[in-house]
Assembly symmetry: C3
Homo-oligomer: 268 residues x 3
């Protein structure tokens, strides 16, 4: 069985919450290798959690992938286990896992996690990551069949987050800011392939519309291709278009929060 368990949460690093999950897993599946994907997802930000998980998953070995970001934790929301592309994702059925499942080839099978025999007891209603997801991950690692977790869920009934949109039309492509990283690089929902389809090539100048503002940016292979302090667009490490300032903070300079609308076009 899988020997890798990965953890993505919004628990932060200031408490022992993440360690409790590691401890529960180590007690049940001492042979498992645990990889922390991220624990600083902003509290309850399901879209950000989904984006980080989906962009990281291609680089993680197949295993049991826990996601625990759920503003309604402790409510009536069900937890699910989803098999996709040789991986198992477990977490709340709130869309958190949906982009990573899609990136892994789509859900093949899903089960509701309901069999309390596999939980810590008593399971706290407010900490399913520790009391439900961690022990279940450990047991799946040890060979527990998915079907033992609870009733099957038709995969078309799983909650799916709307993907960040991008739309090719009239010779331009529209999208939105998907995320802003630590450096202030803004990642757009626009794939490098869409720009290519519009005839834009590395070395060209790109027209950028941010609401009513219009800019012209160099389209380069990387931010280091422009002098420090200058704006640039490039295909980032996830294959999406990013707008950055070499050695600077583009999100702050341009006032571009996640969700902001952006349109790109070739400059004639």
């Amino acid at each position: 069985m899988a020997s890798v368990i990965t953890l993505l949460t919004d628990y932060g690093l200031e408490d022992g919450y993440v360690a409790a999950c590691h401890g529960v897993i180590a007690g049940i599946a001492p042979q498992a290798r645990v990889i922390d994907v991220c624990h600083l997802i902003p509290s309850g930000d399901v879209r950000r959690g989904a984006a980080v998980l989906a962009q990281t998953i291609p680089y993680l070995p197949p295993g049991i992938h826990i996601g625990a970001v759920d503003p309604g934790a402790g409510g009536a929301r069900r937890a699910v286990a989803i098999e996709a592309g040789g991986r198992v994702f477990i977490g709340p059925d709130n869309g958190l896992l949906s982009w990573a499942v899609h990136a892994s080839g789509g859900a093949r099978l899903a089960y509701e996690i309901r069999n309390e025999k596999h939980f810590l007891r008593p399971a706290s209603p407010t900490f399913p990551g520790r009391d439900v997801l961690s022990p279940v991950a450990g047991r799946l690692c040890g060979g527990l069949p998915l079907a033992d977790l609870g009733p099957e869920v038709p995969v078309e009934r799983l909650v799916v987050l709307p993907e960040p949109t991008s739309l090719l039309r009239d010779g331009s492509v529209e999208g939105e800011v998907v995320s802003v990283d630590r450096y202030g690089n803004t990642q757009l929902s626009i794939a490098a392939g869409d720009l290519y389809a519009l005839g834009v090539r590395v070395g060209d100048t790109l027209g950028v519309w941010l609401g009513r503002r219009q800019l012209s940016l160099p389209y380069r292979e990387t931010y280091a291709a422009v002098p420090p302090g200058e704006l640039v667009a490039f295909a980032d490490s996830a294959g999406l278009i990013a707008i950055a300032v070499n050695s600077g903070d583009a999100a702050q300079r341009l006032g571009l929060p996640p969700g902001a609308h952006v349109r790109l076009s070739p400059t004639p």
Copy 2:
């Protein structure tokens, strides 16, 4: 012997301090699994360190548990190794370990860590976590008997932090804010069992006195039982009463720092 070593410190994550401890352990006990409990304990905050360790310990496999939070590190304070409930706690004798030792069933044996043969040499007086506690943990993992560390310390001479108080009287229960987590949930020193003894049941309304202010809060199974933005009291994942705002920050809303006095009672 134990193959798990856990680490709780106030070293932060901006330096290589934690890595140095990991490295020393890996060099001496390459077979050990190291679990980071928390490294963001506020600098020198022994009570916060004690609370995080005690609340996490039930979920950690038995092992060697290092605690390194000591405003007087490098002074004359002795380091100790304490056996409790099949676990070994090592750290300064300043009370940091006392609540976790208590949660593990109480100290059975204790030794002063004084035998420099087991330290890195020269041991820096300002970094006992790296030079004393890490190598000692690695050697204990390898089978070194506790008695080799130094002279026995009578367990009743160990420094014990006063526990956060709670007092049942006159039909109400008084306590204090033990900690505030990343979400702004305030955890009280009042056990769910004490409210139960007063006749309070999930679904009831609770009277809450904060100094001169009085509130009525719904007592529910979890914060998700109230609409977003509303206050609620519930039994948290450690079995203690917490006051929270669903998808909000209760500590900020109510102005409740650690140590603040709180009284709870049934509402007739």
Copy 3:
């Protein structure tokens, strides 16, 4: 071959970037033990990265040591693998590794990392940590000879950061603030041995010049030797002189950023 891989980056902990590196390594070298040295190096701060790596390296088991802090990542800068003291350092040839290489006894051999056969493909030009350094580290762990990475680089052609200076003259020693840690302790580029050479002994009073300001500080074994709130100088855990406030923040109190000039002398 080595079974330890260490990671120092400026990726931060808010994204899945570090996890992607862990995942790539785990896929190629599942047997390797990965130690995170630090991921909170300020973005692009090569000197800070070099200092943290050099001060931590003596406590890490020999292995493959990845450094990824490079304001010009994605530019034309070459990546190198450097053998020193039984360790292998890999990262950009921008001086980041140079102090740790020096602390390990100096470069014995170096190779440019150019053989794309060992990279992830396609390798993103903006994320060499994930696509170049991580897979190369995994393969070196599995026995790949260094010479397979690319052409040999004469060690005297490697980029070396200027070391923080210190100068003994006229009965005093001059240096600079190397780094400021989480506690506000300022570490100087002045070795404890230089003060010793000037006749300063623990227990003495030290003359300290900060630009035009002059102070007298107690020189003690550790900060705990003075009352809380008082300034003190001592030899820190790296063997360098530090100026600290017991339970306080010396960098803030004295206005001492990294790079600030400091002169120390015995007080008659």
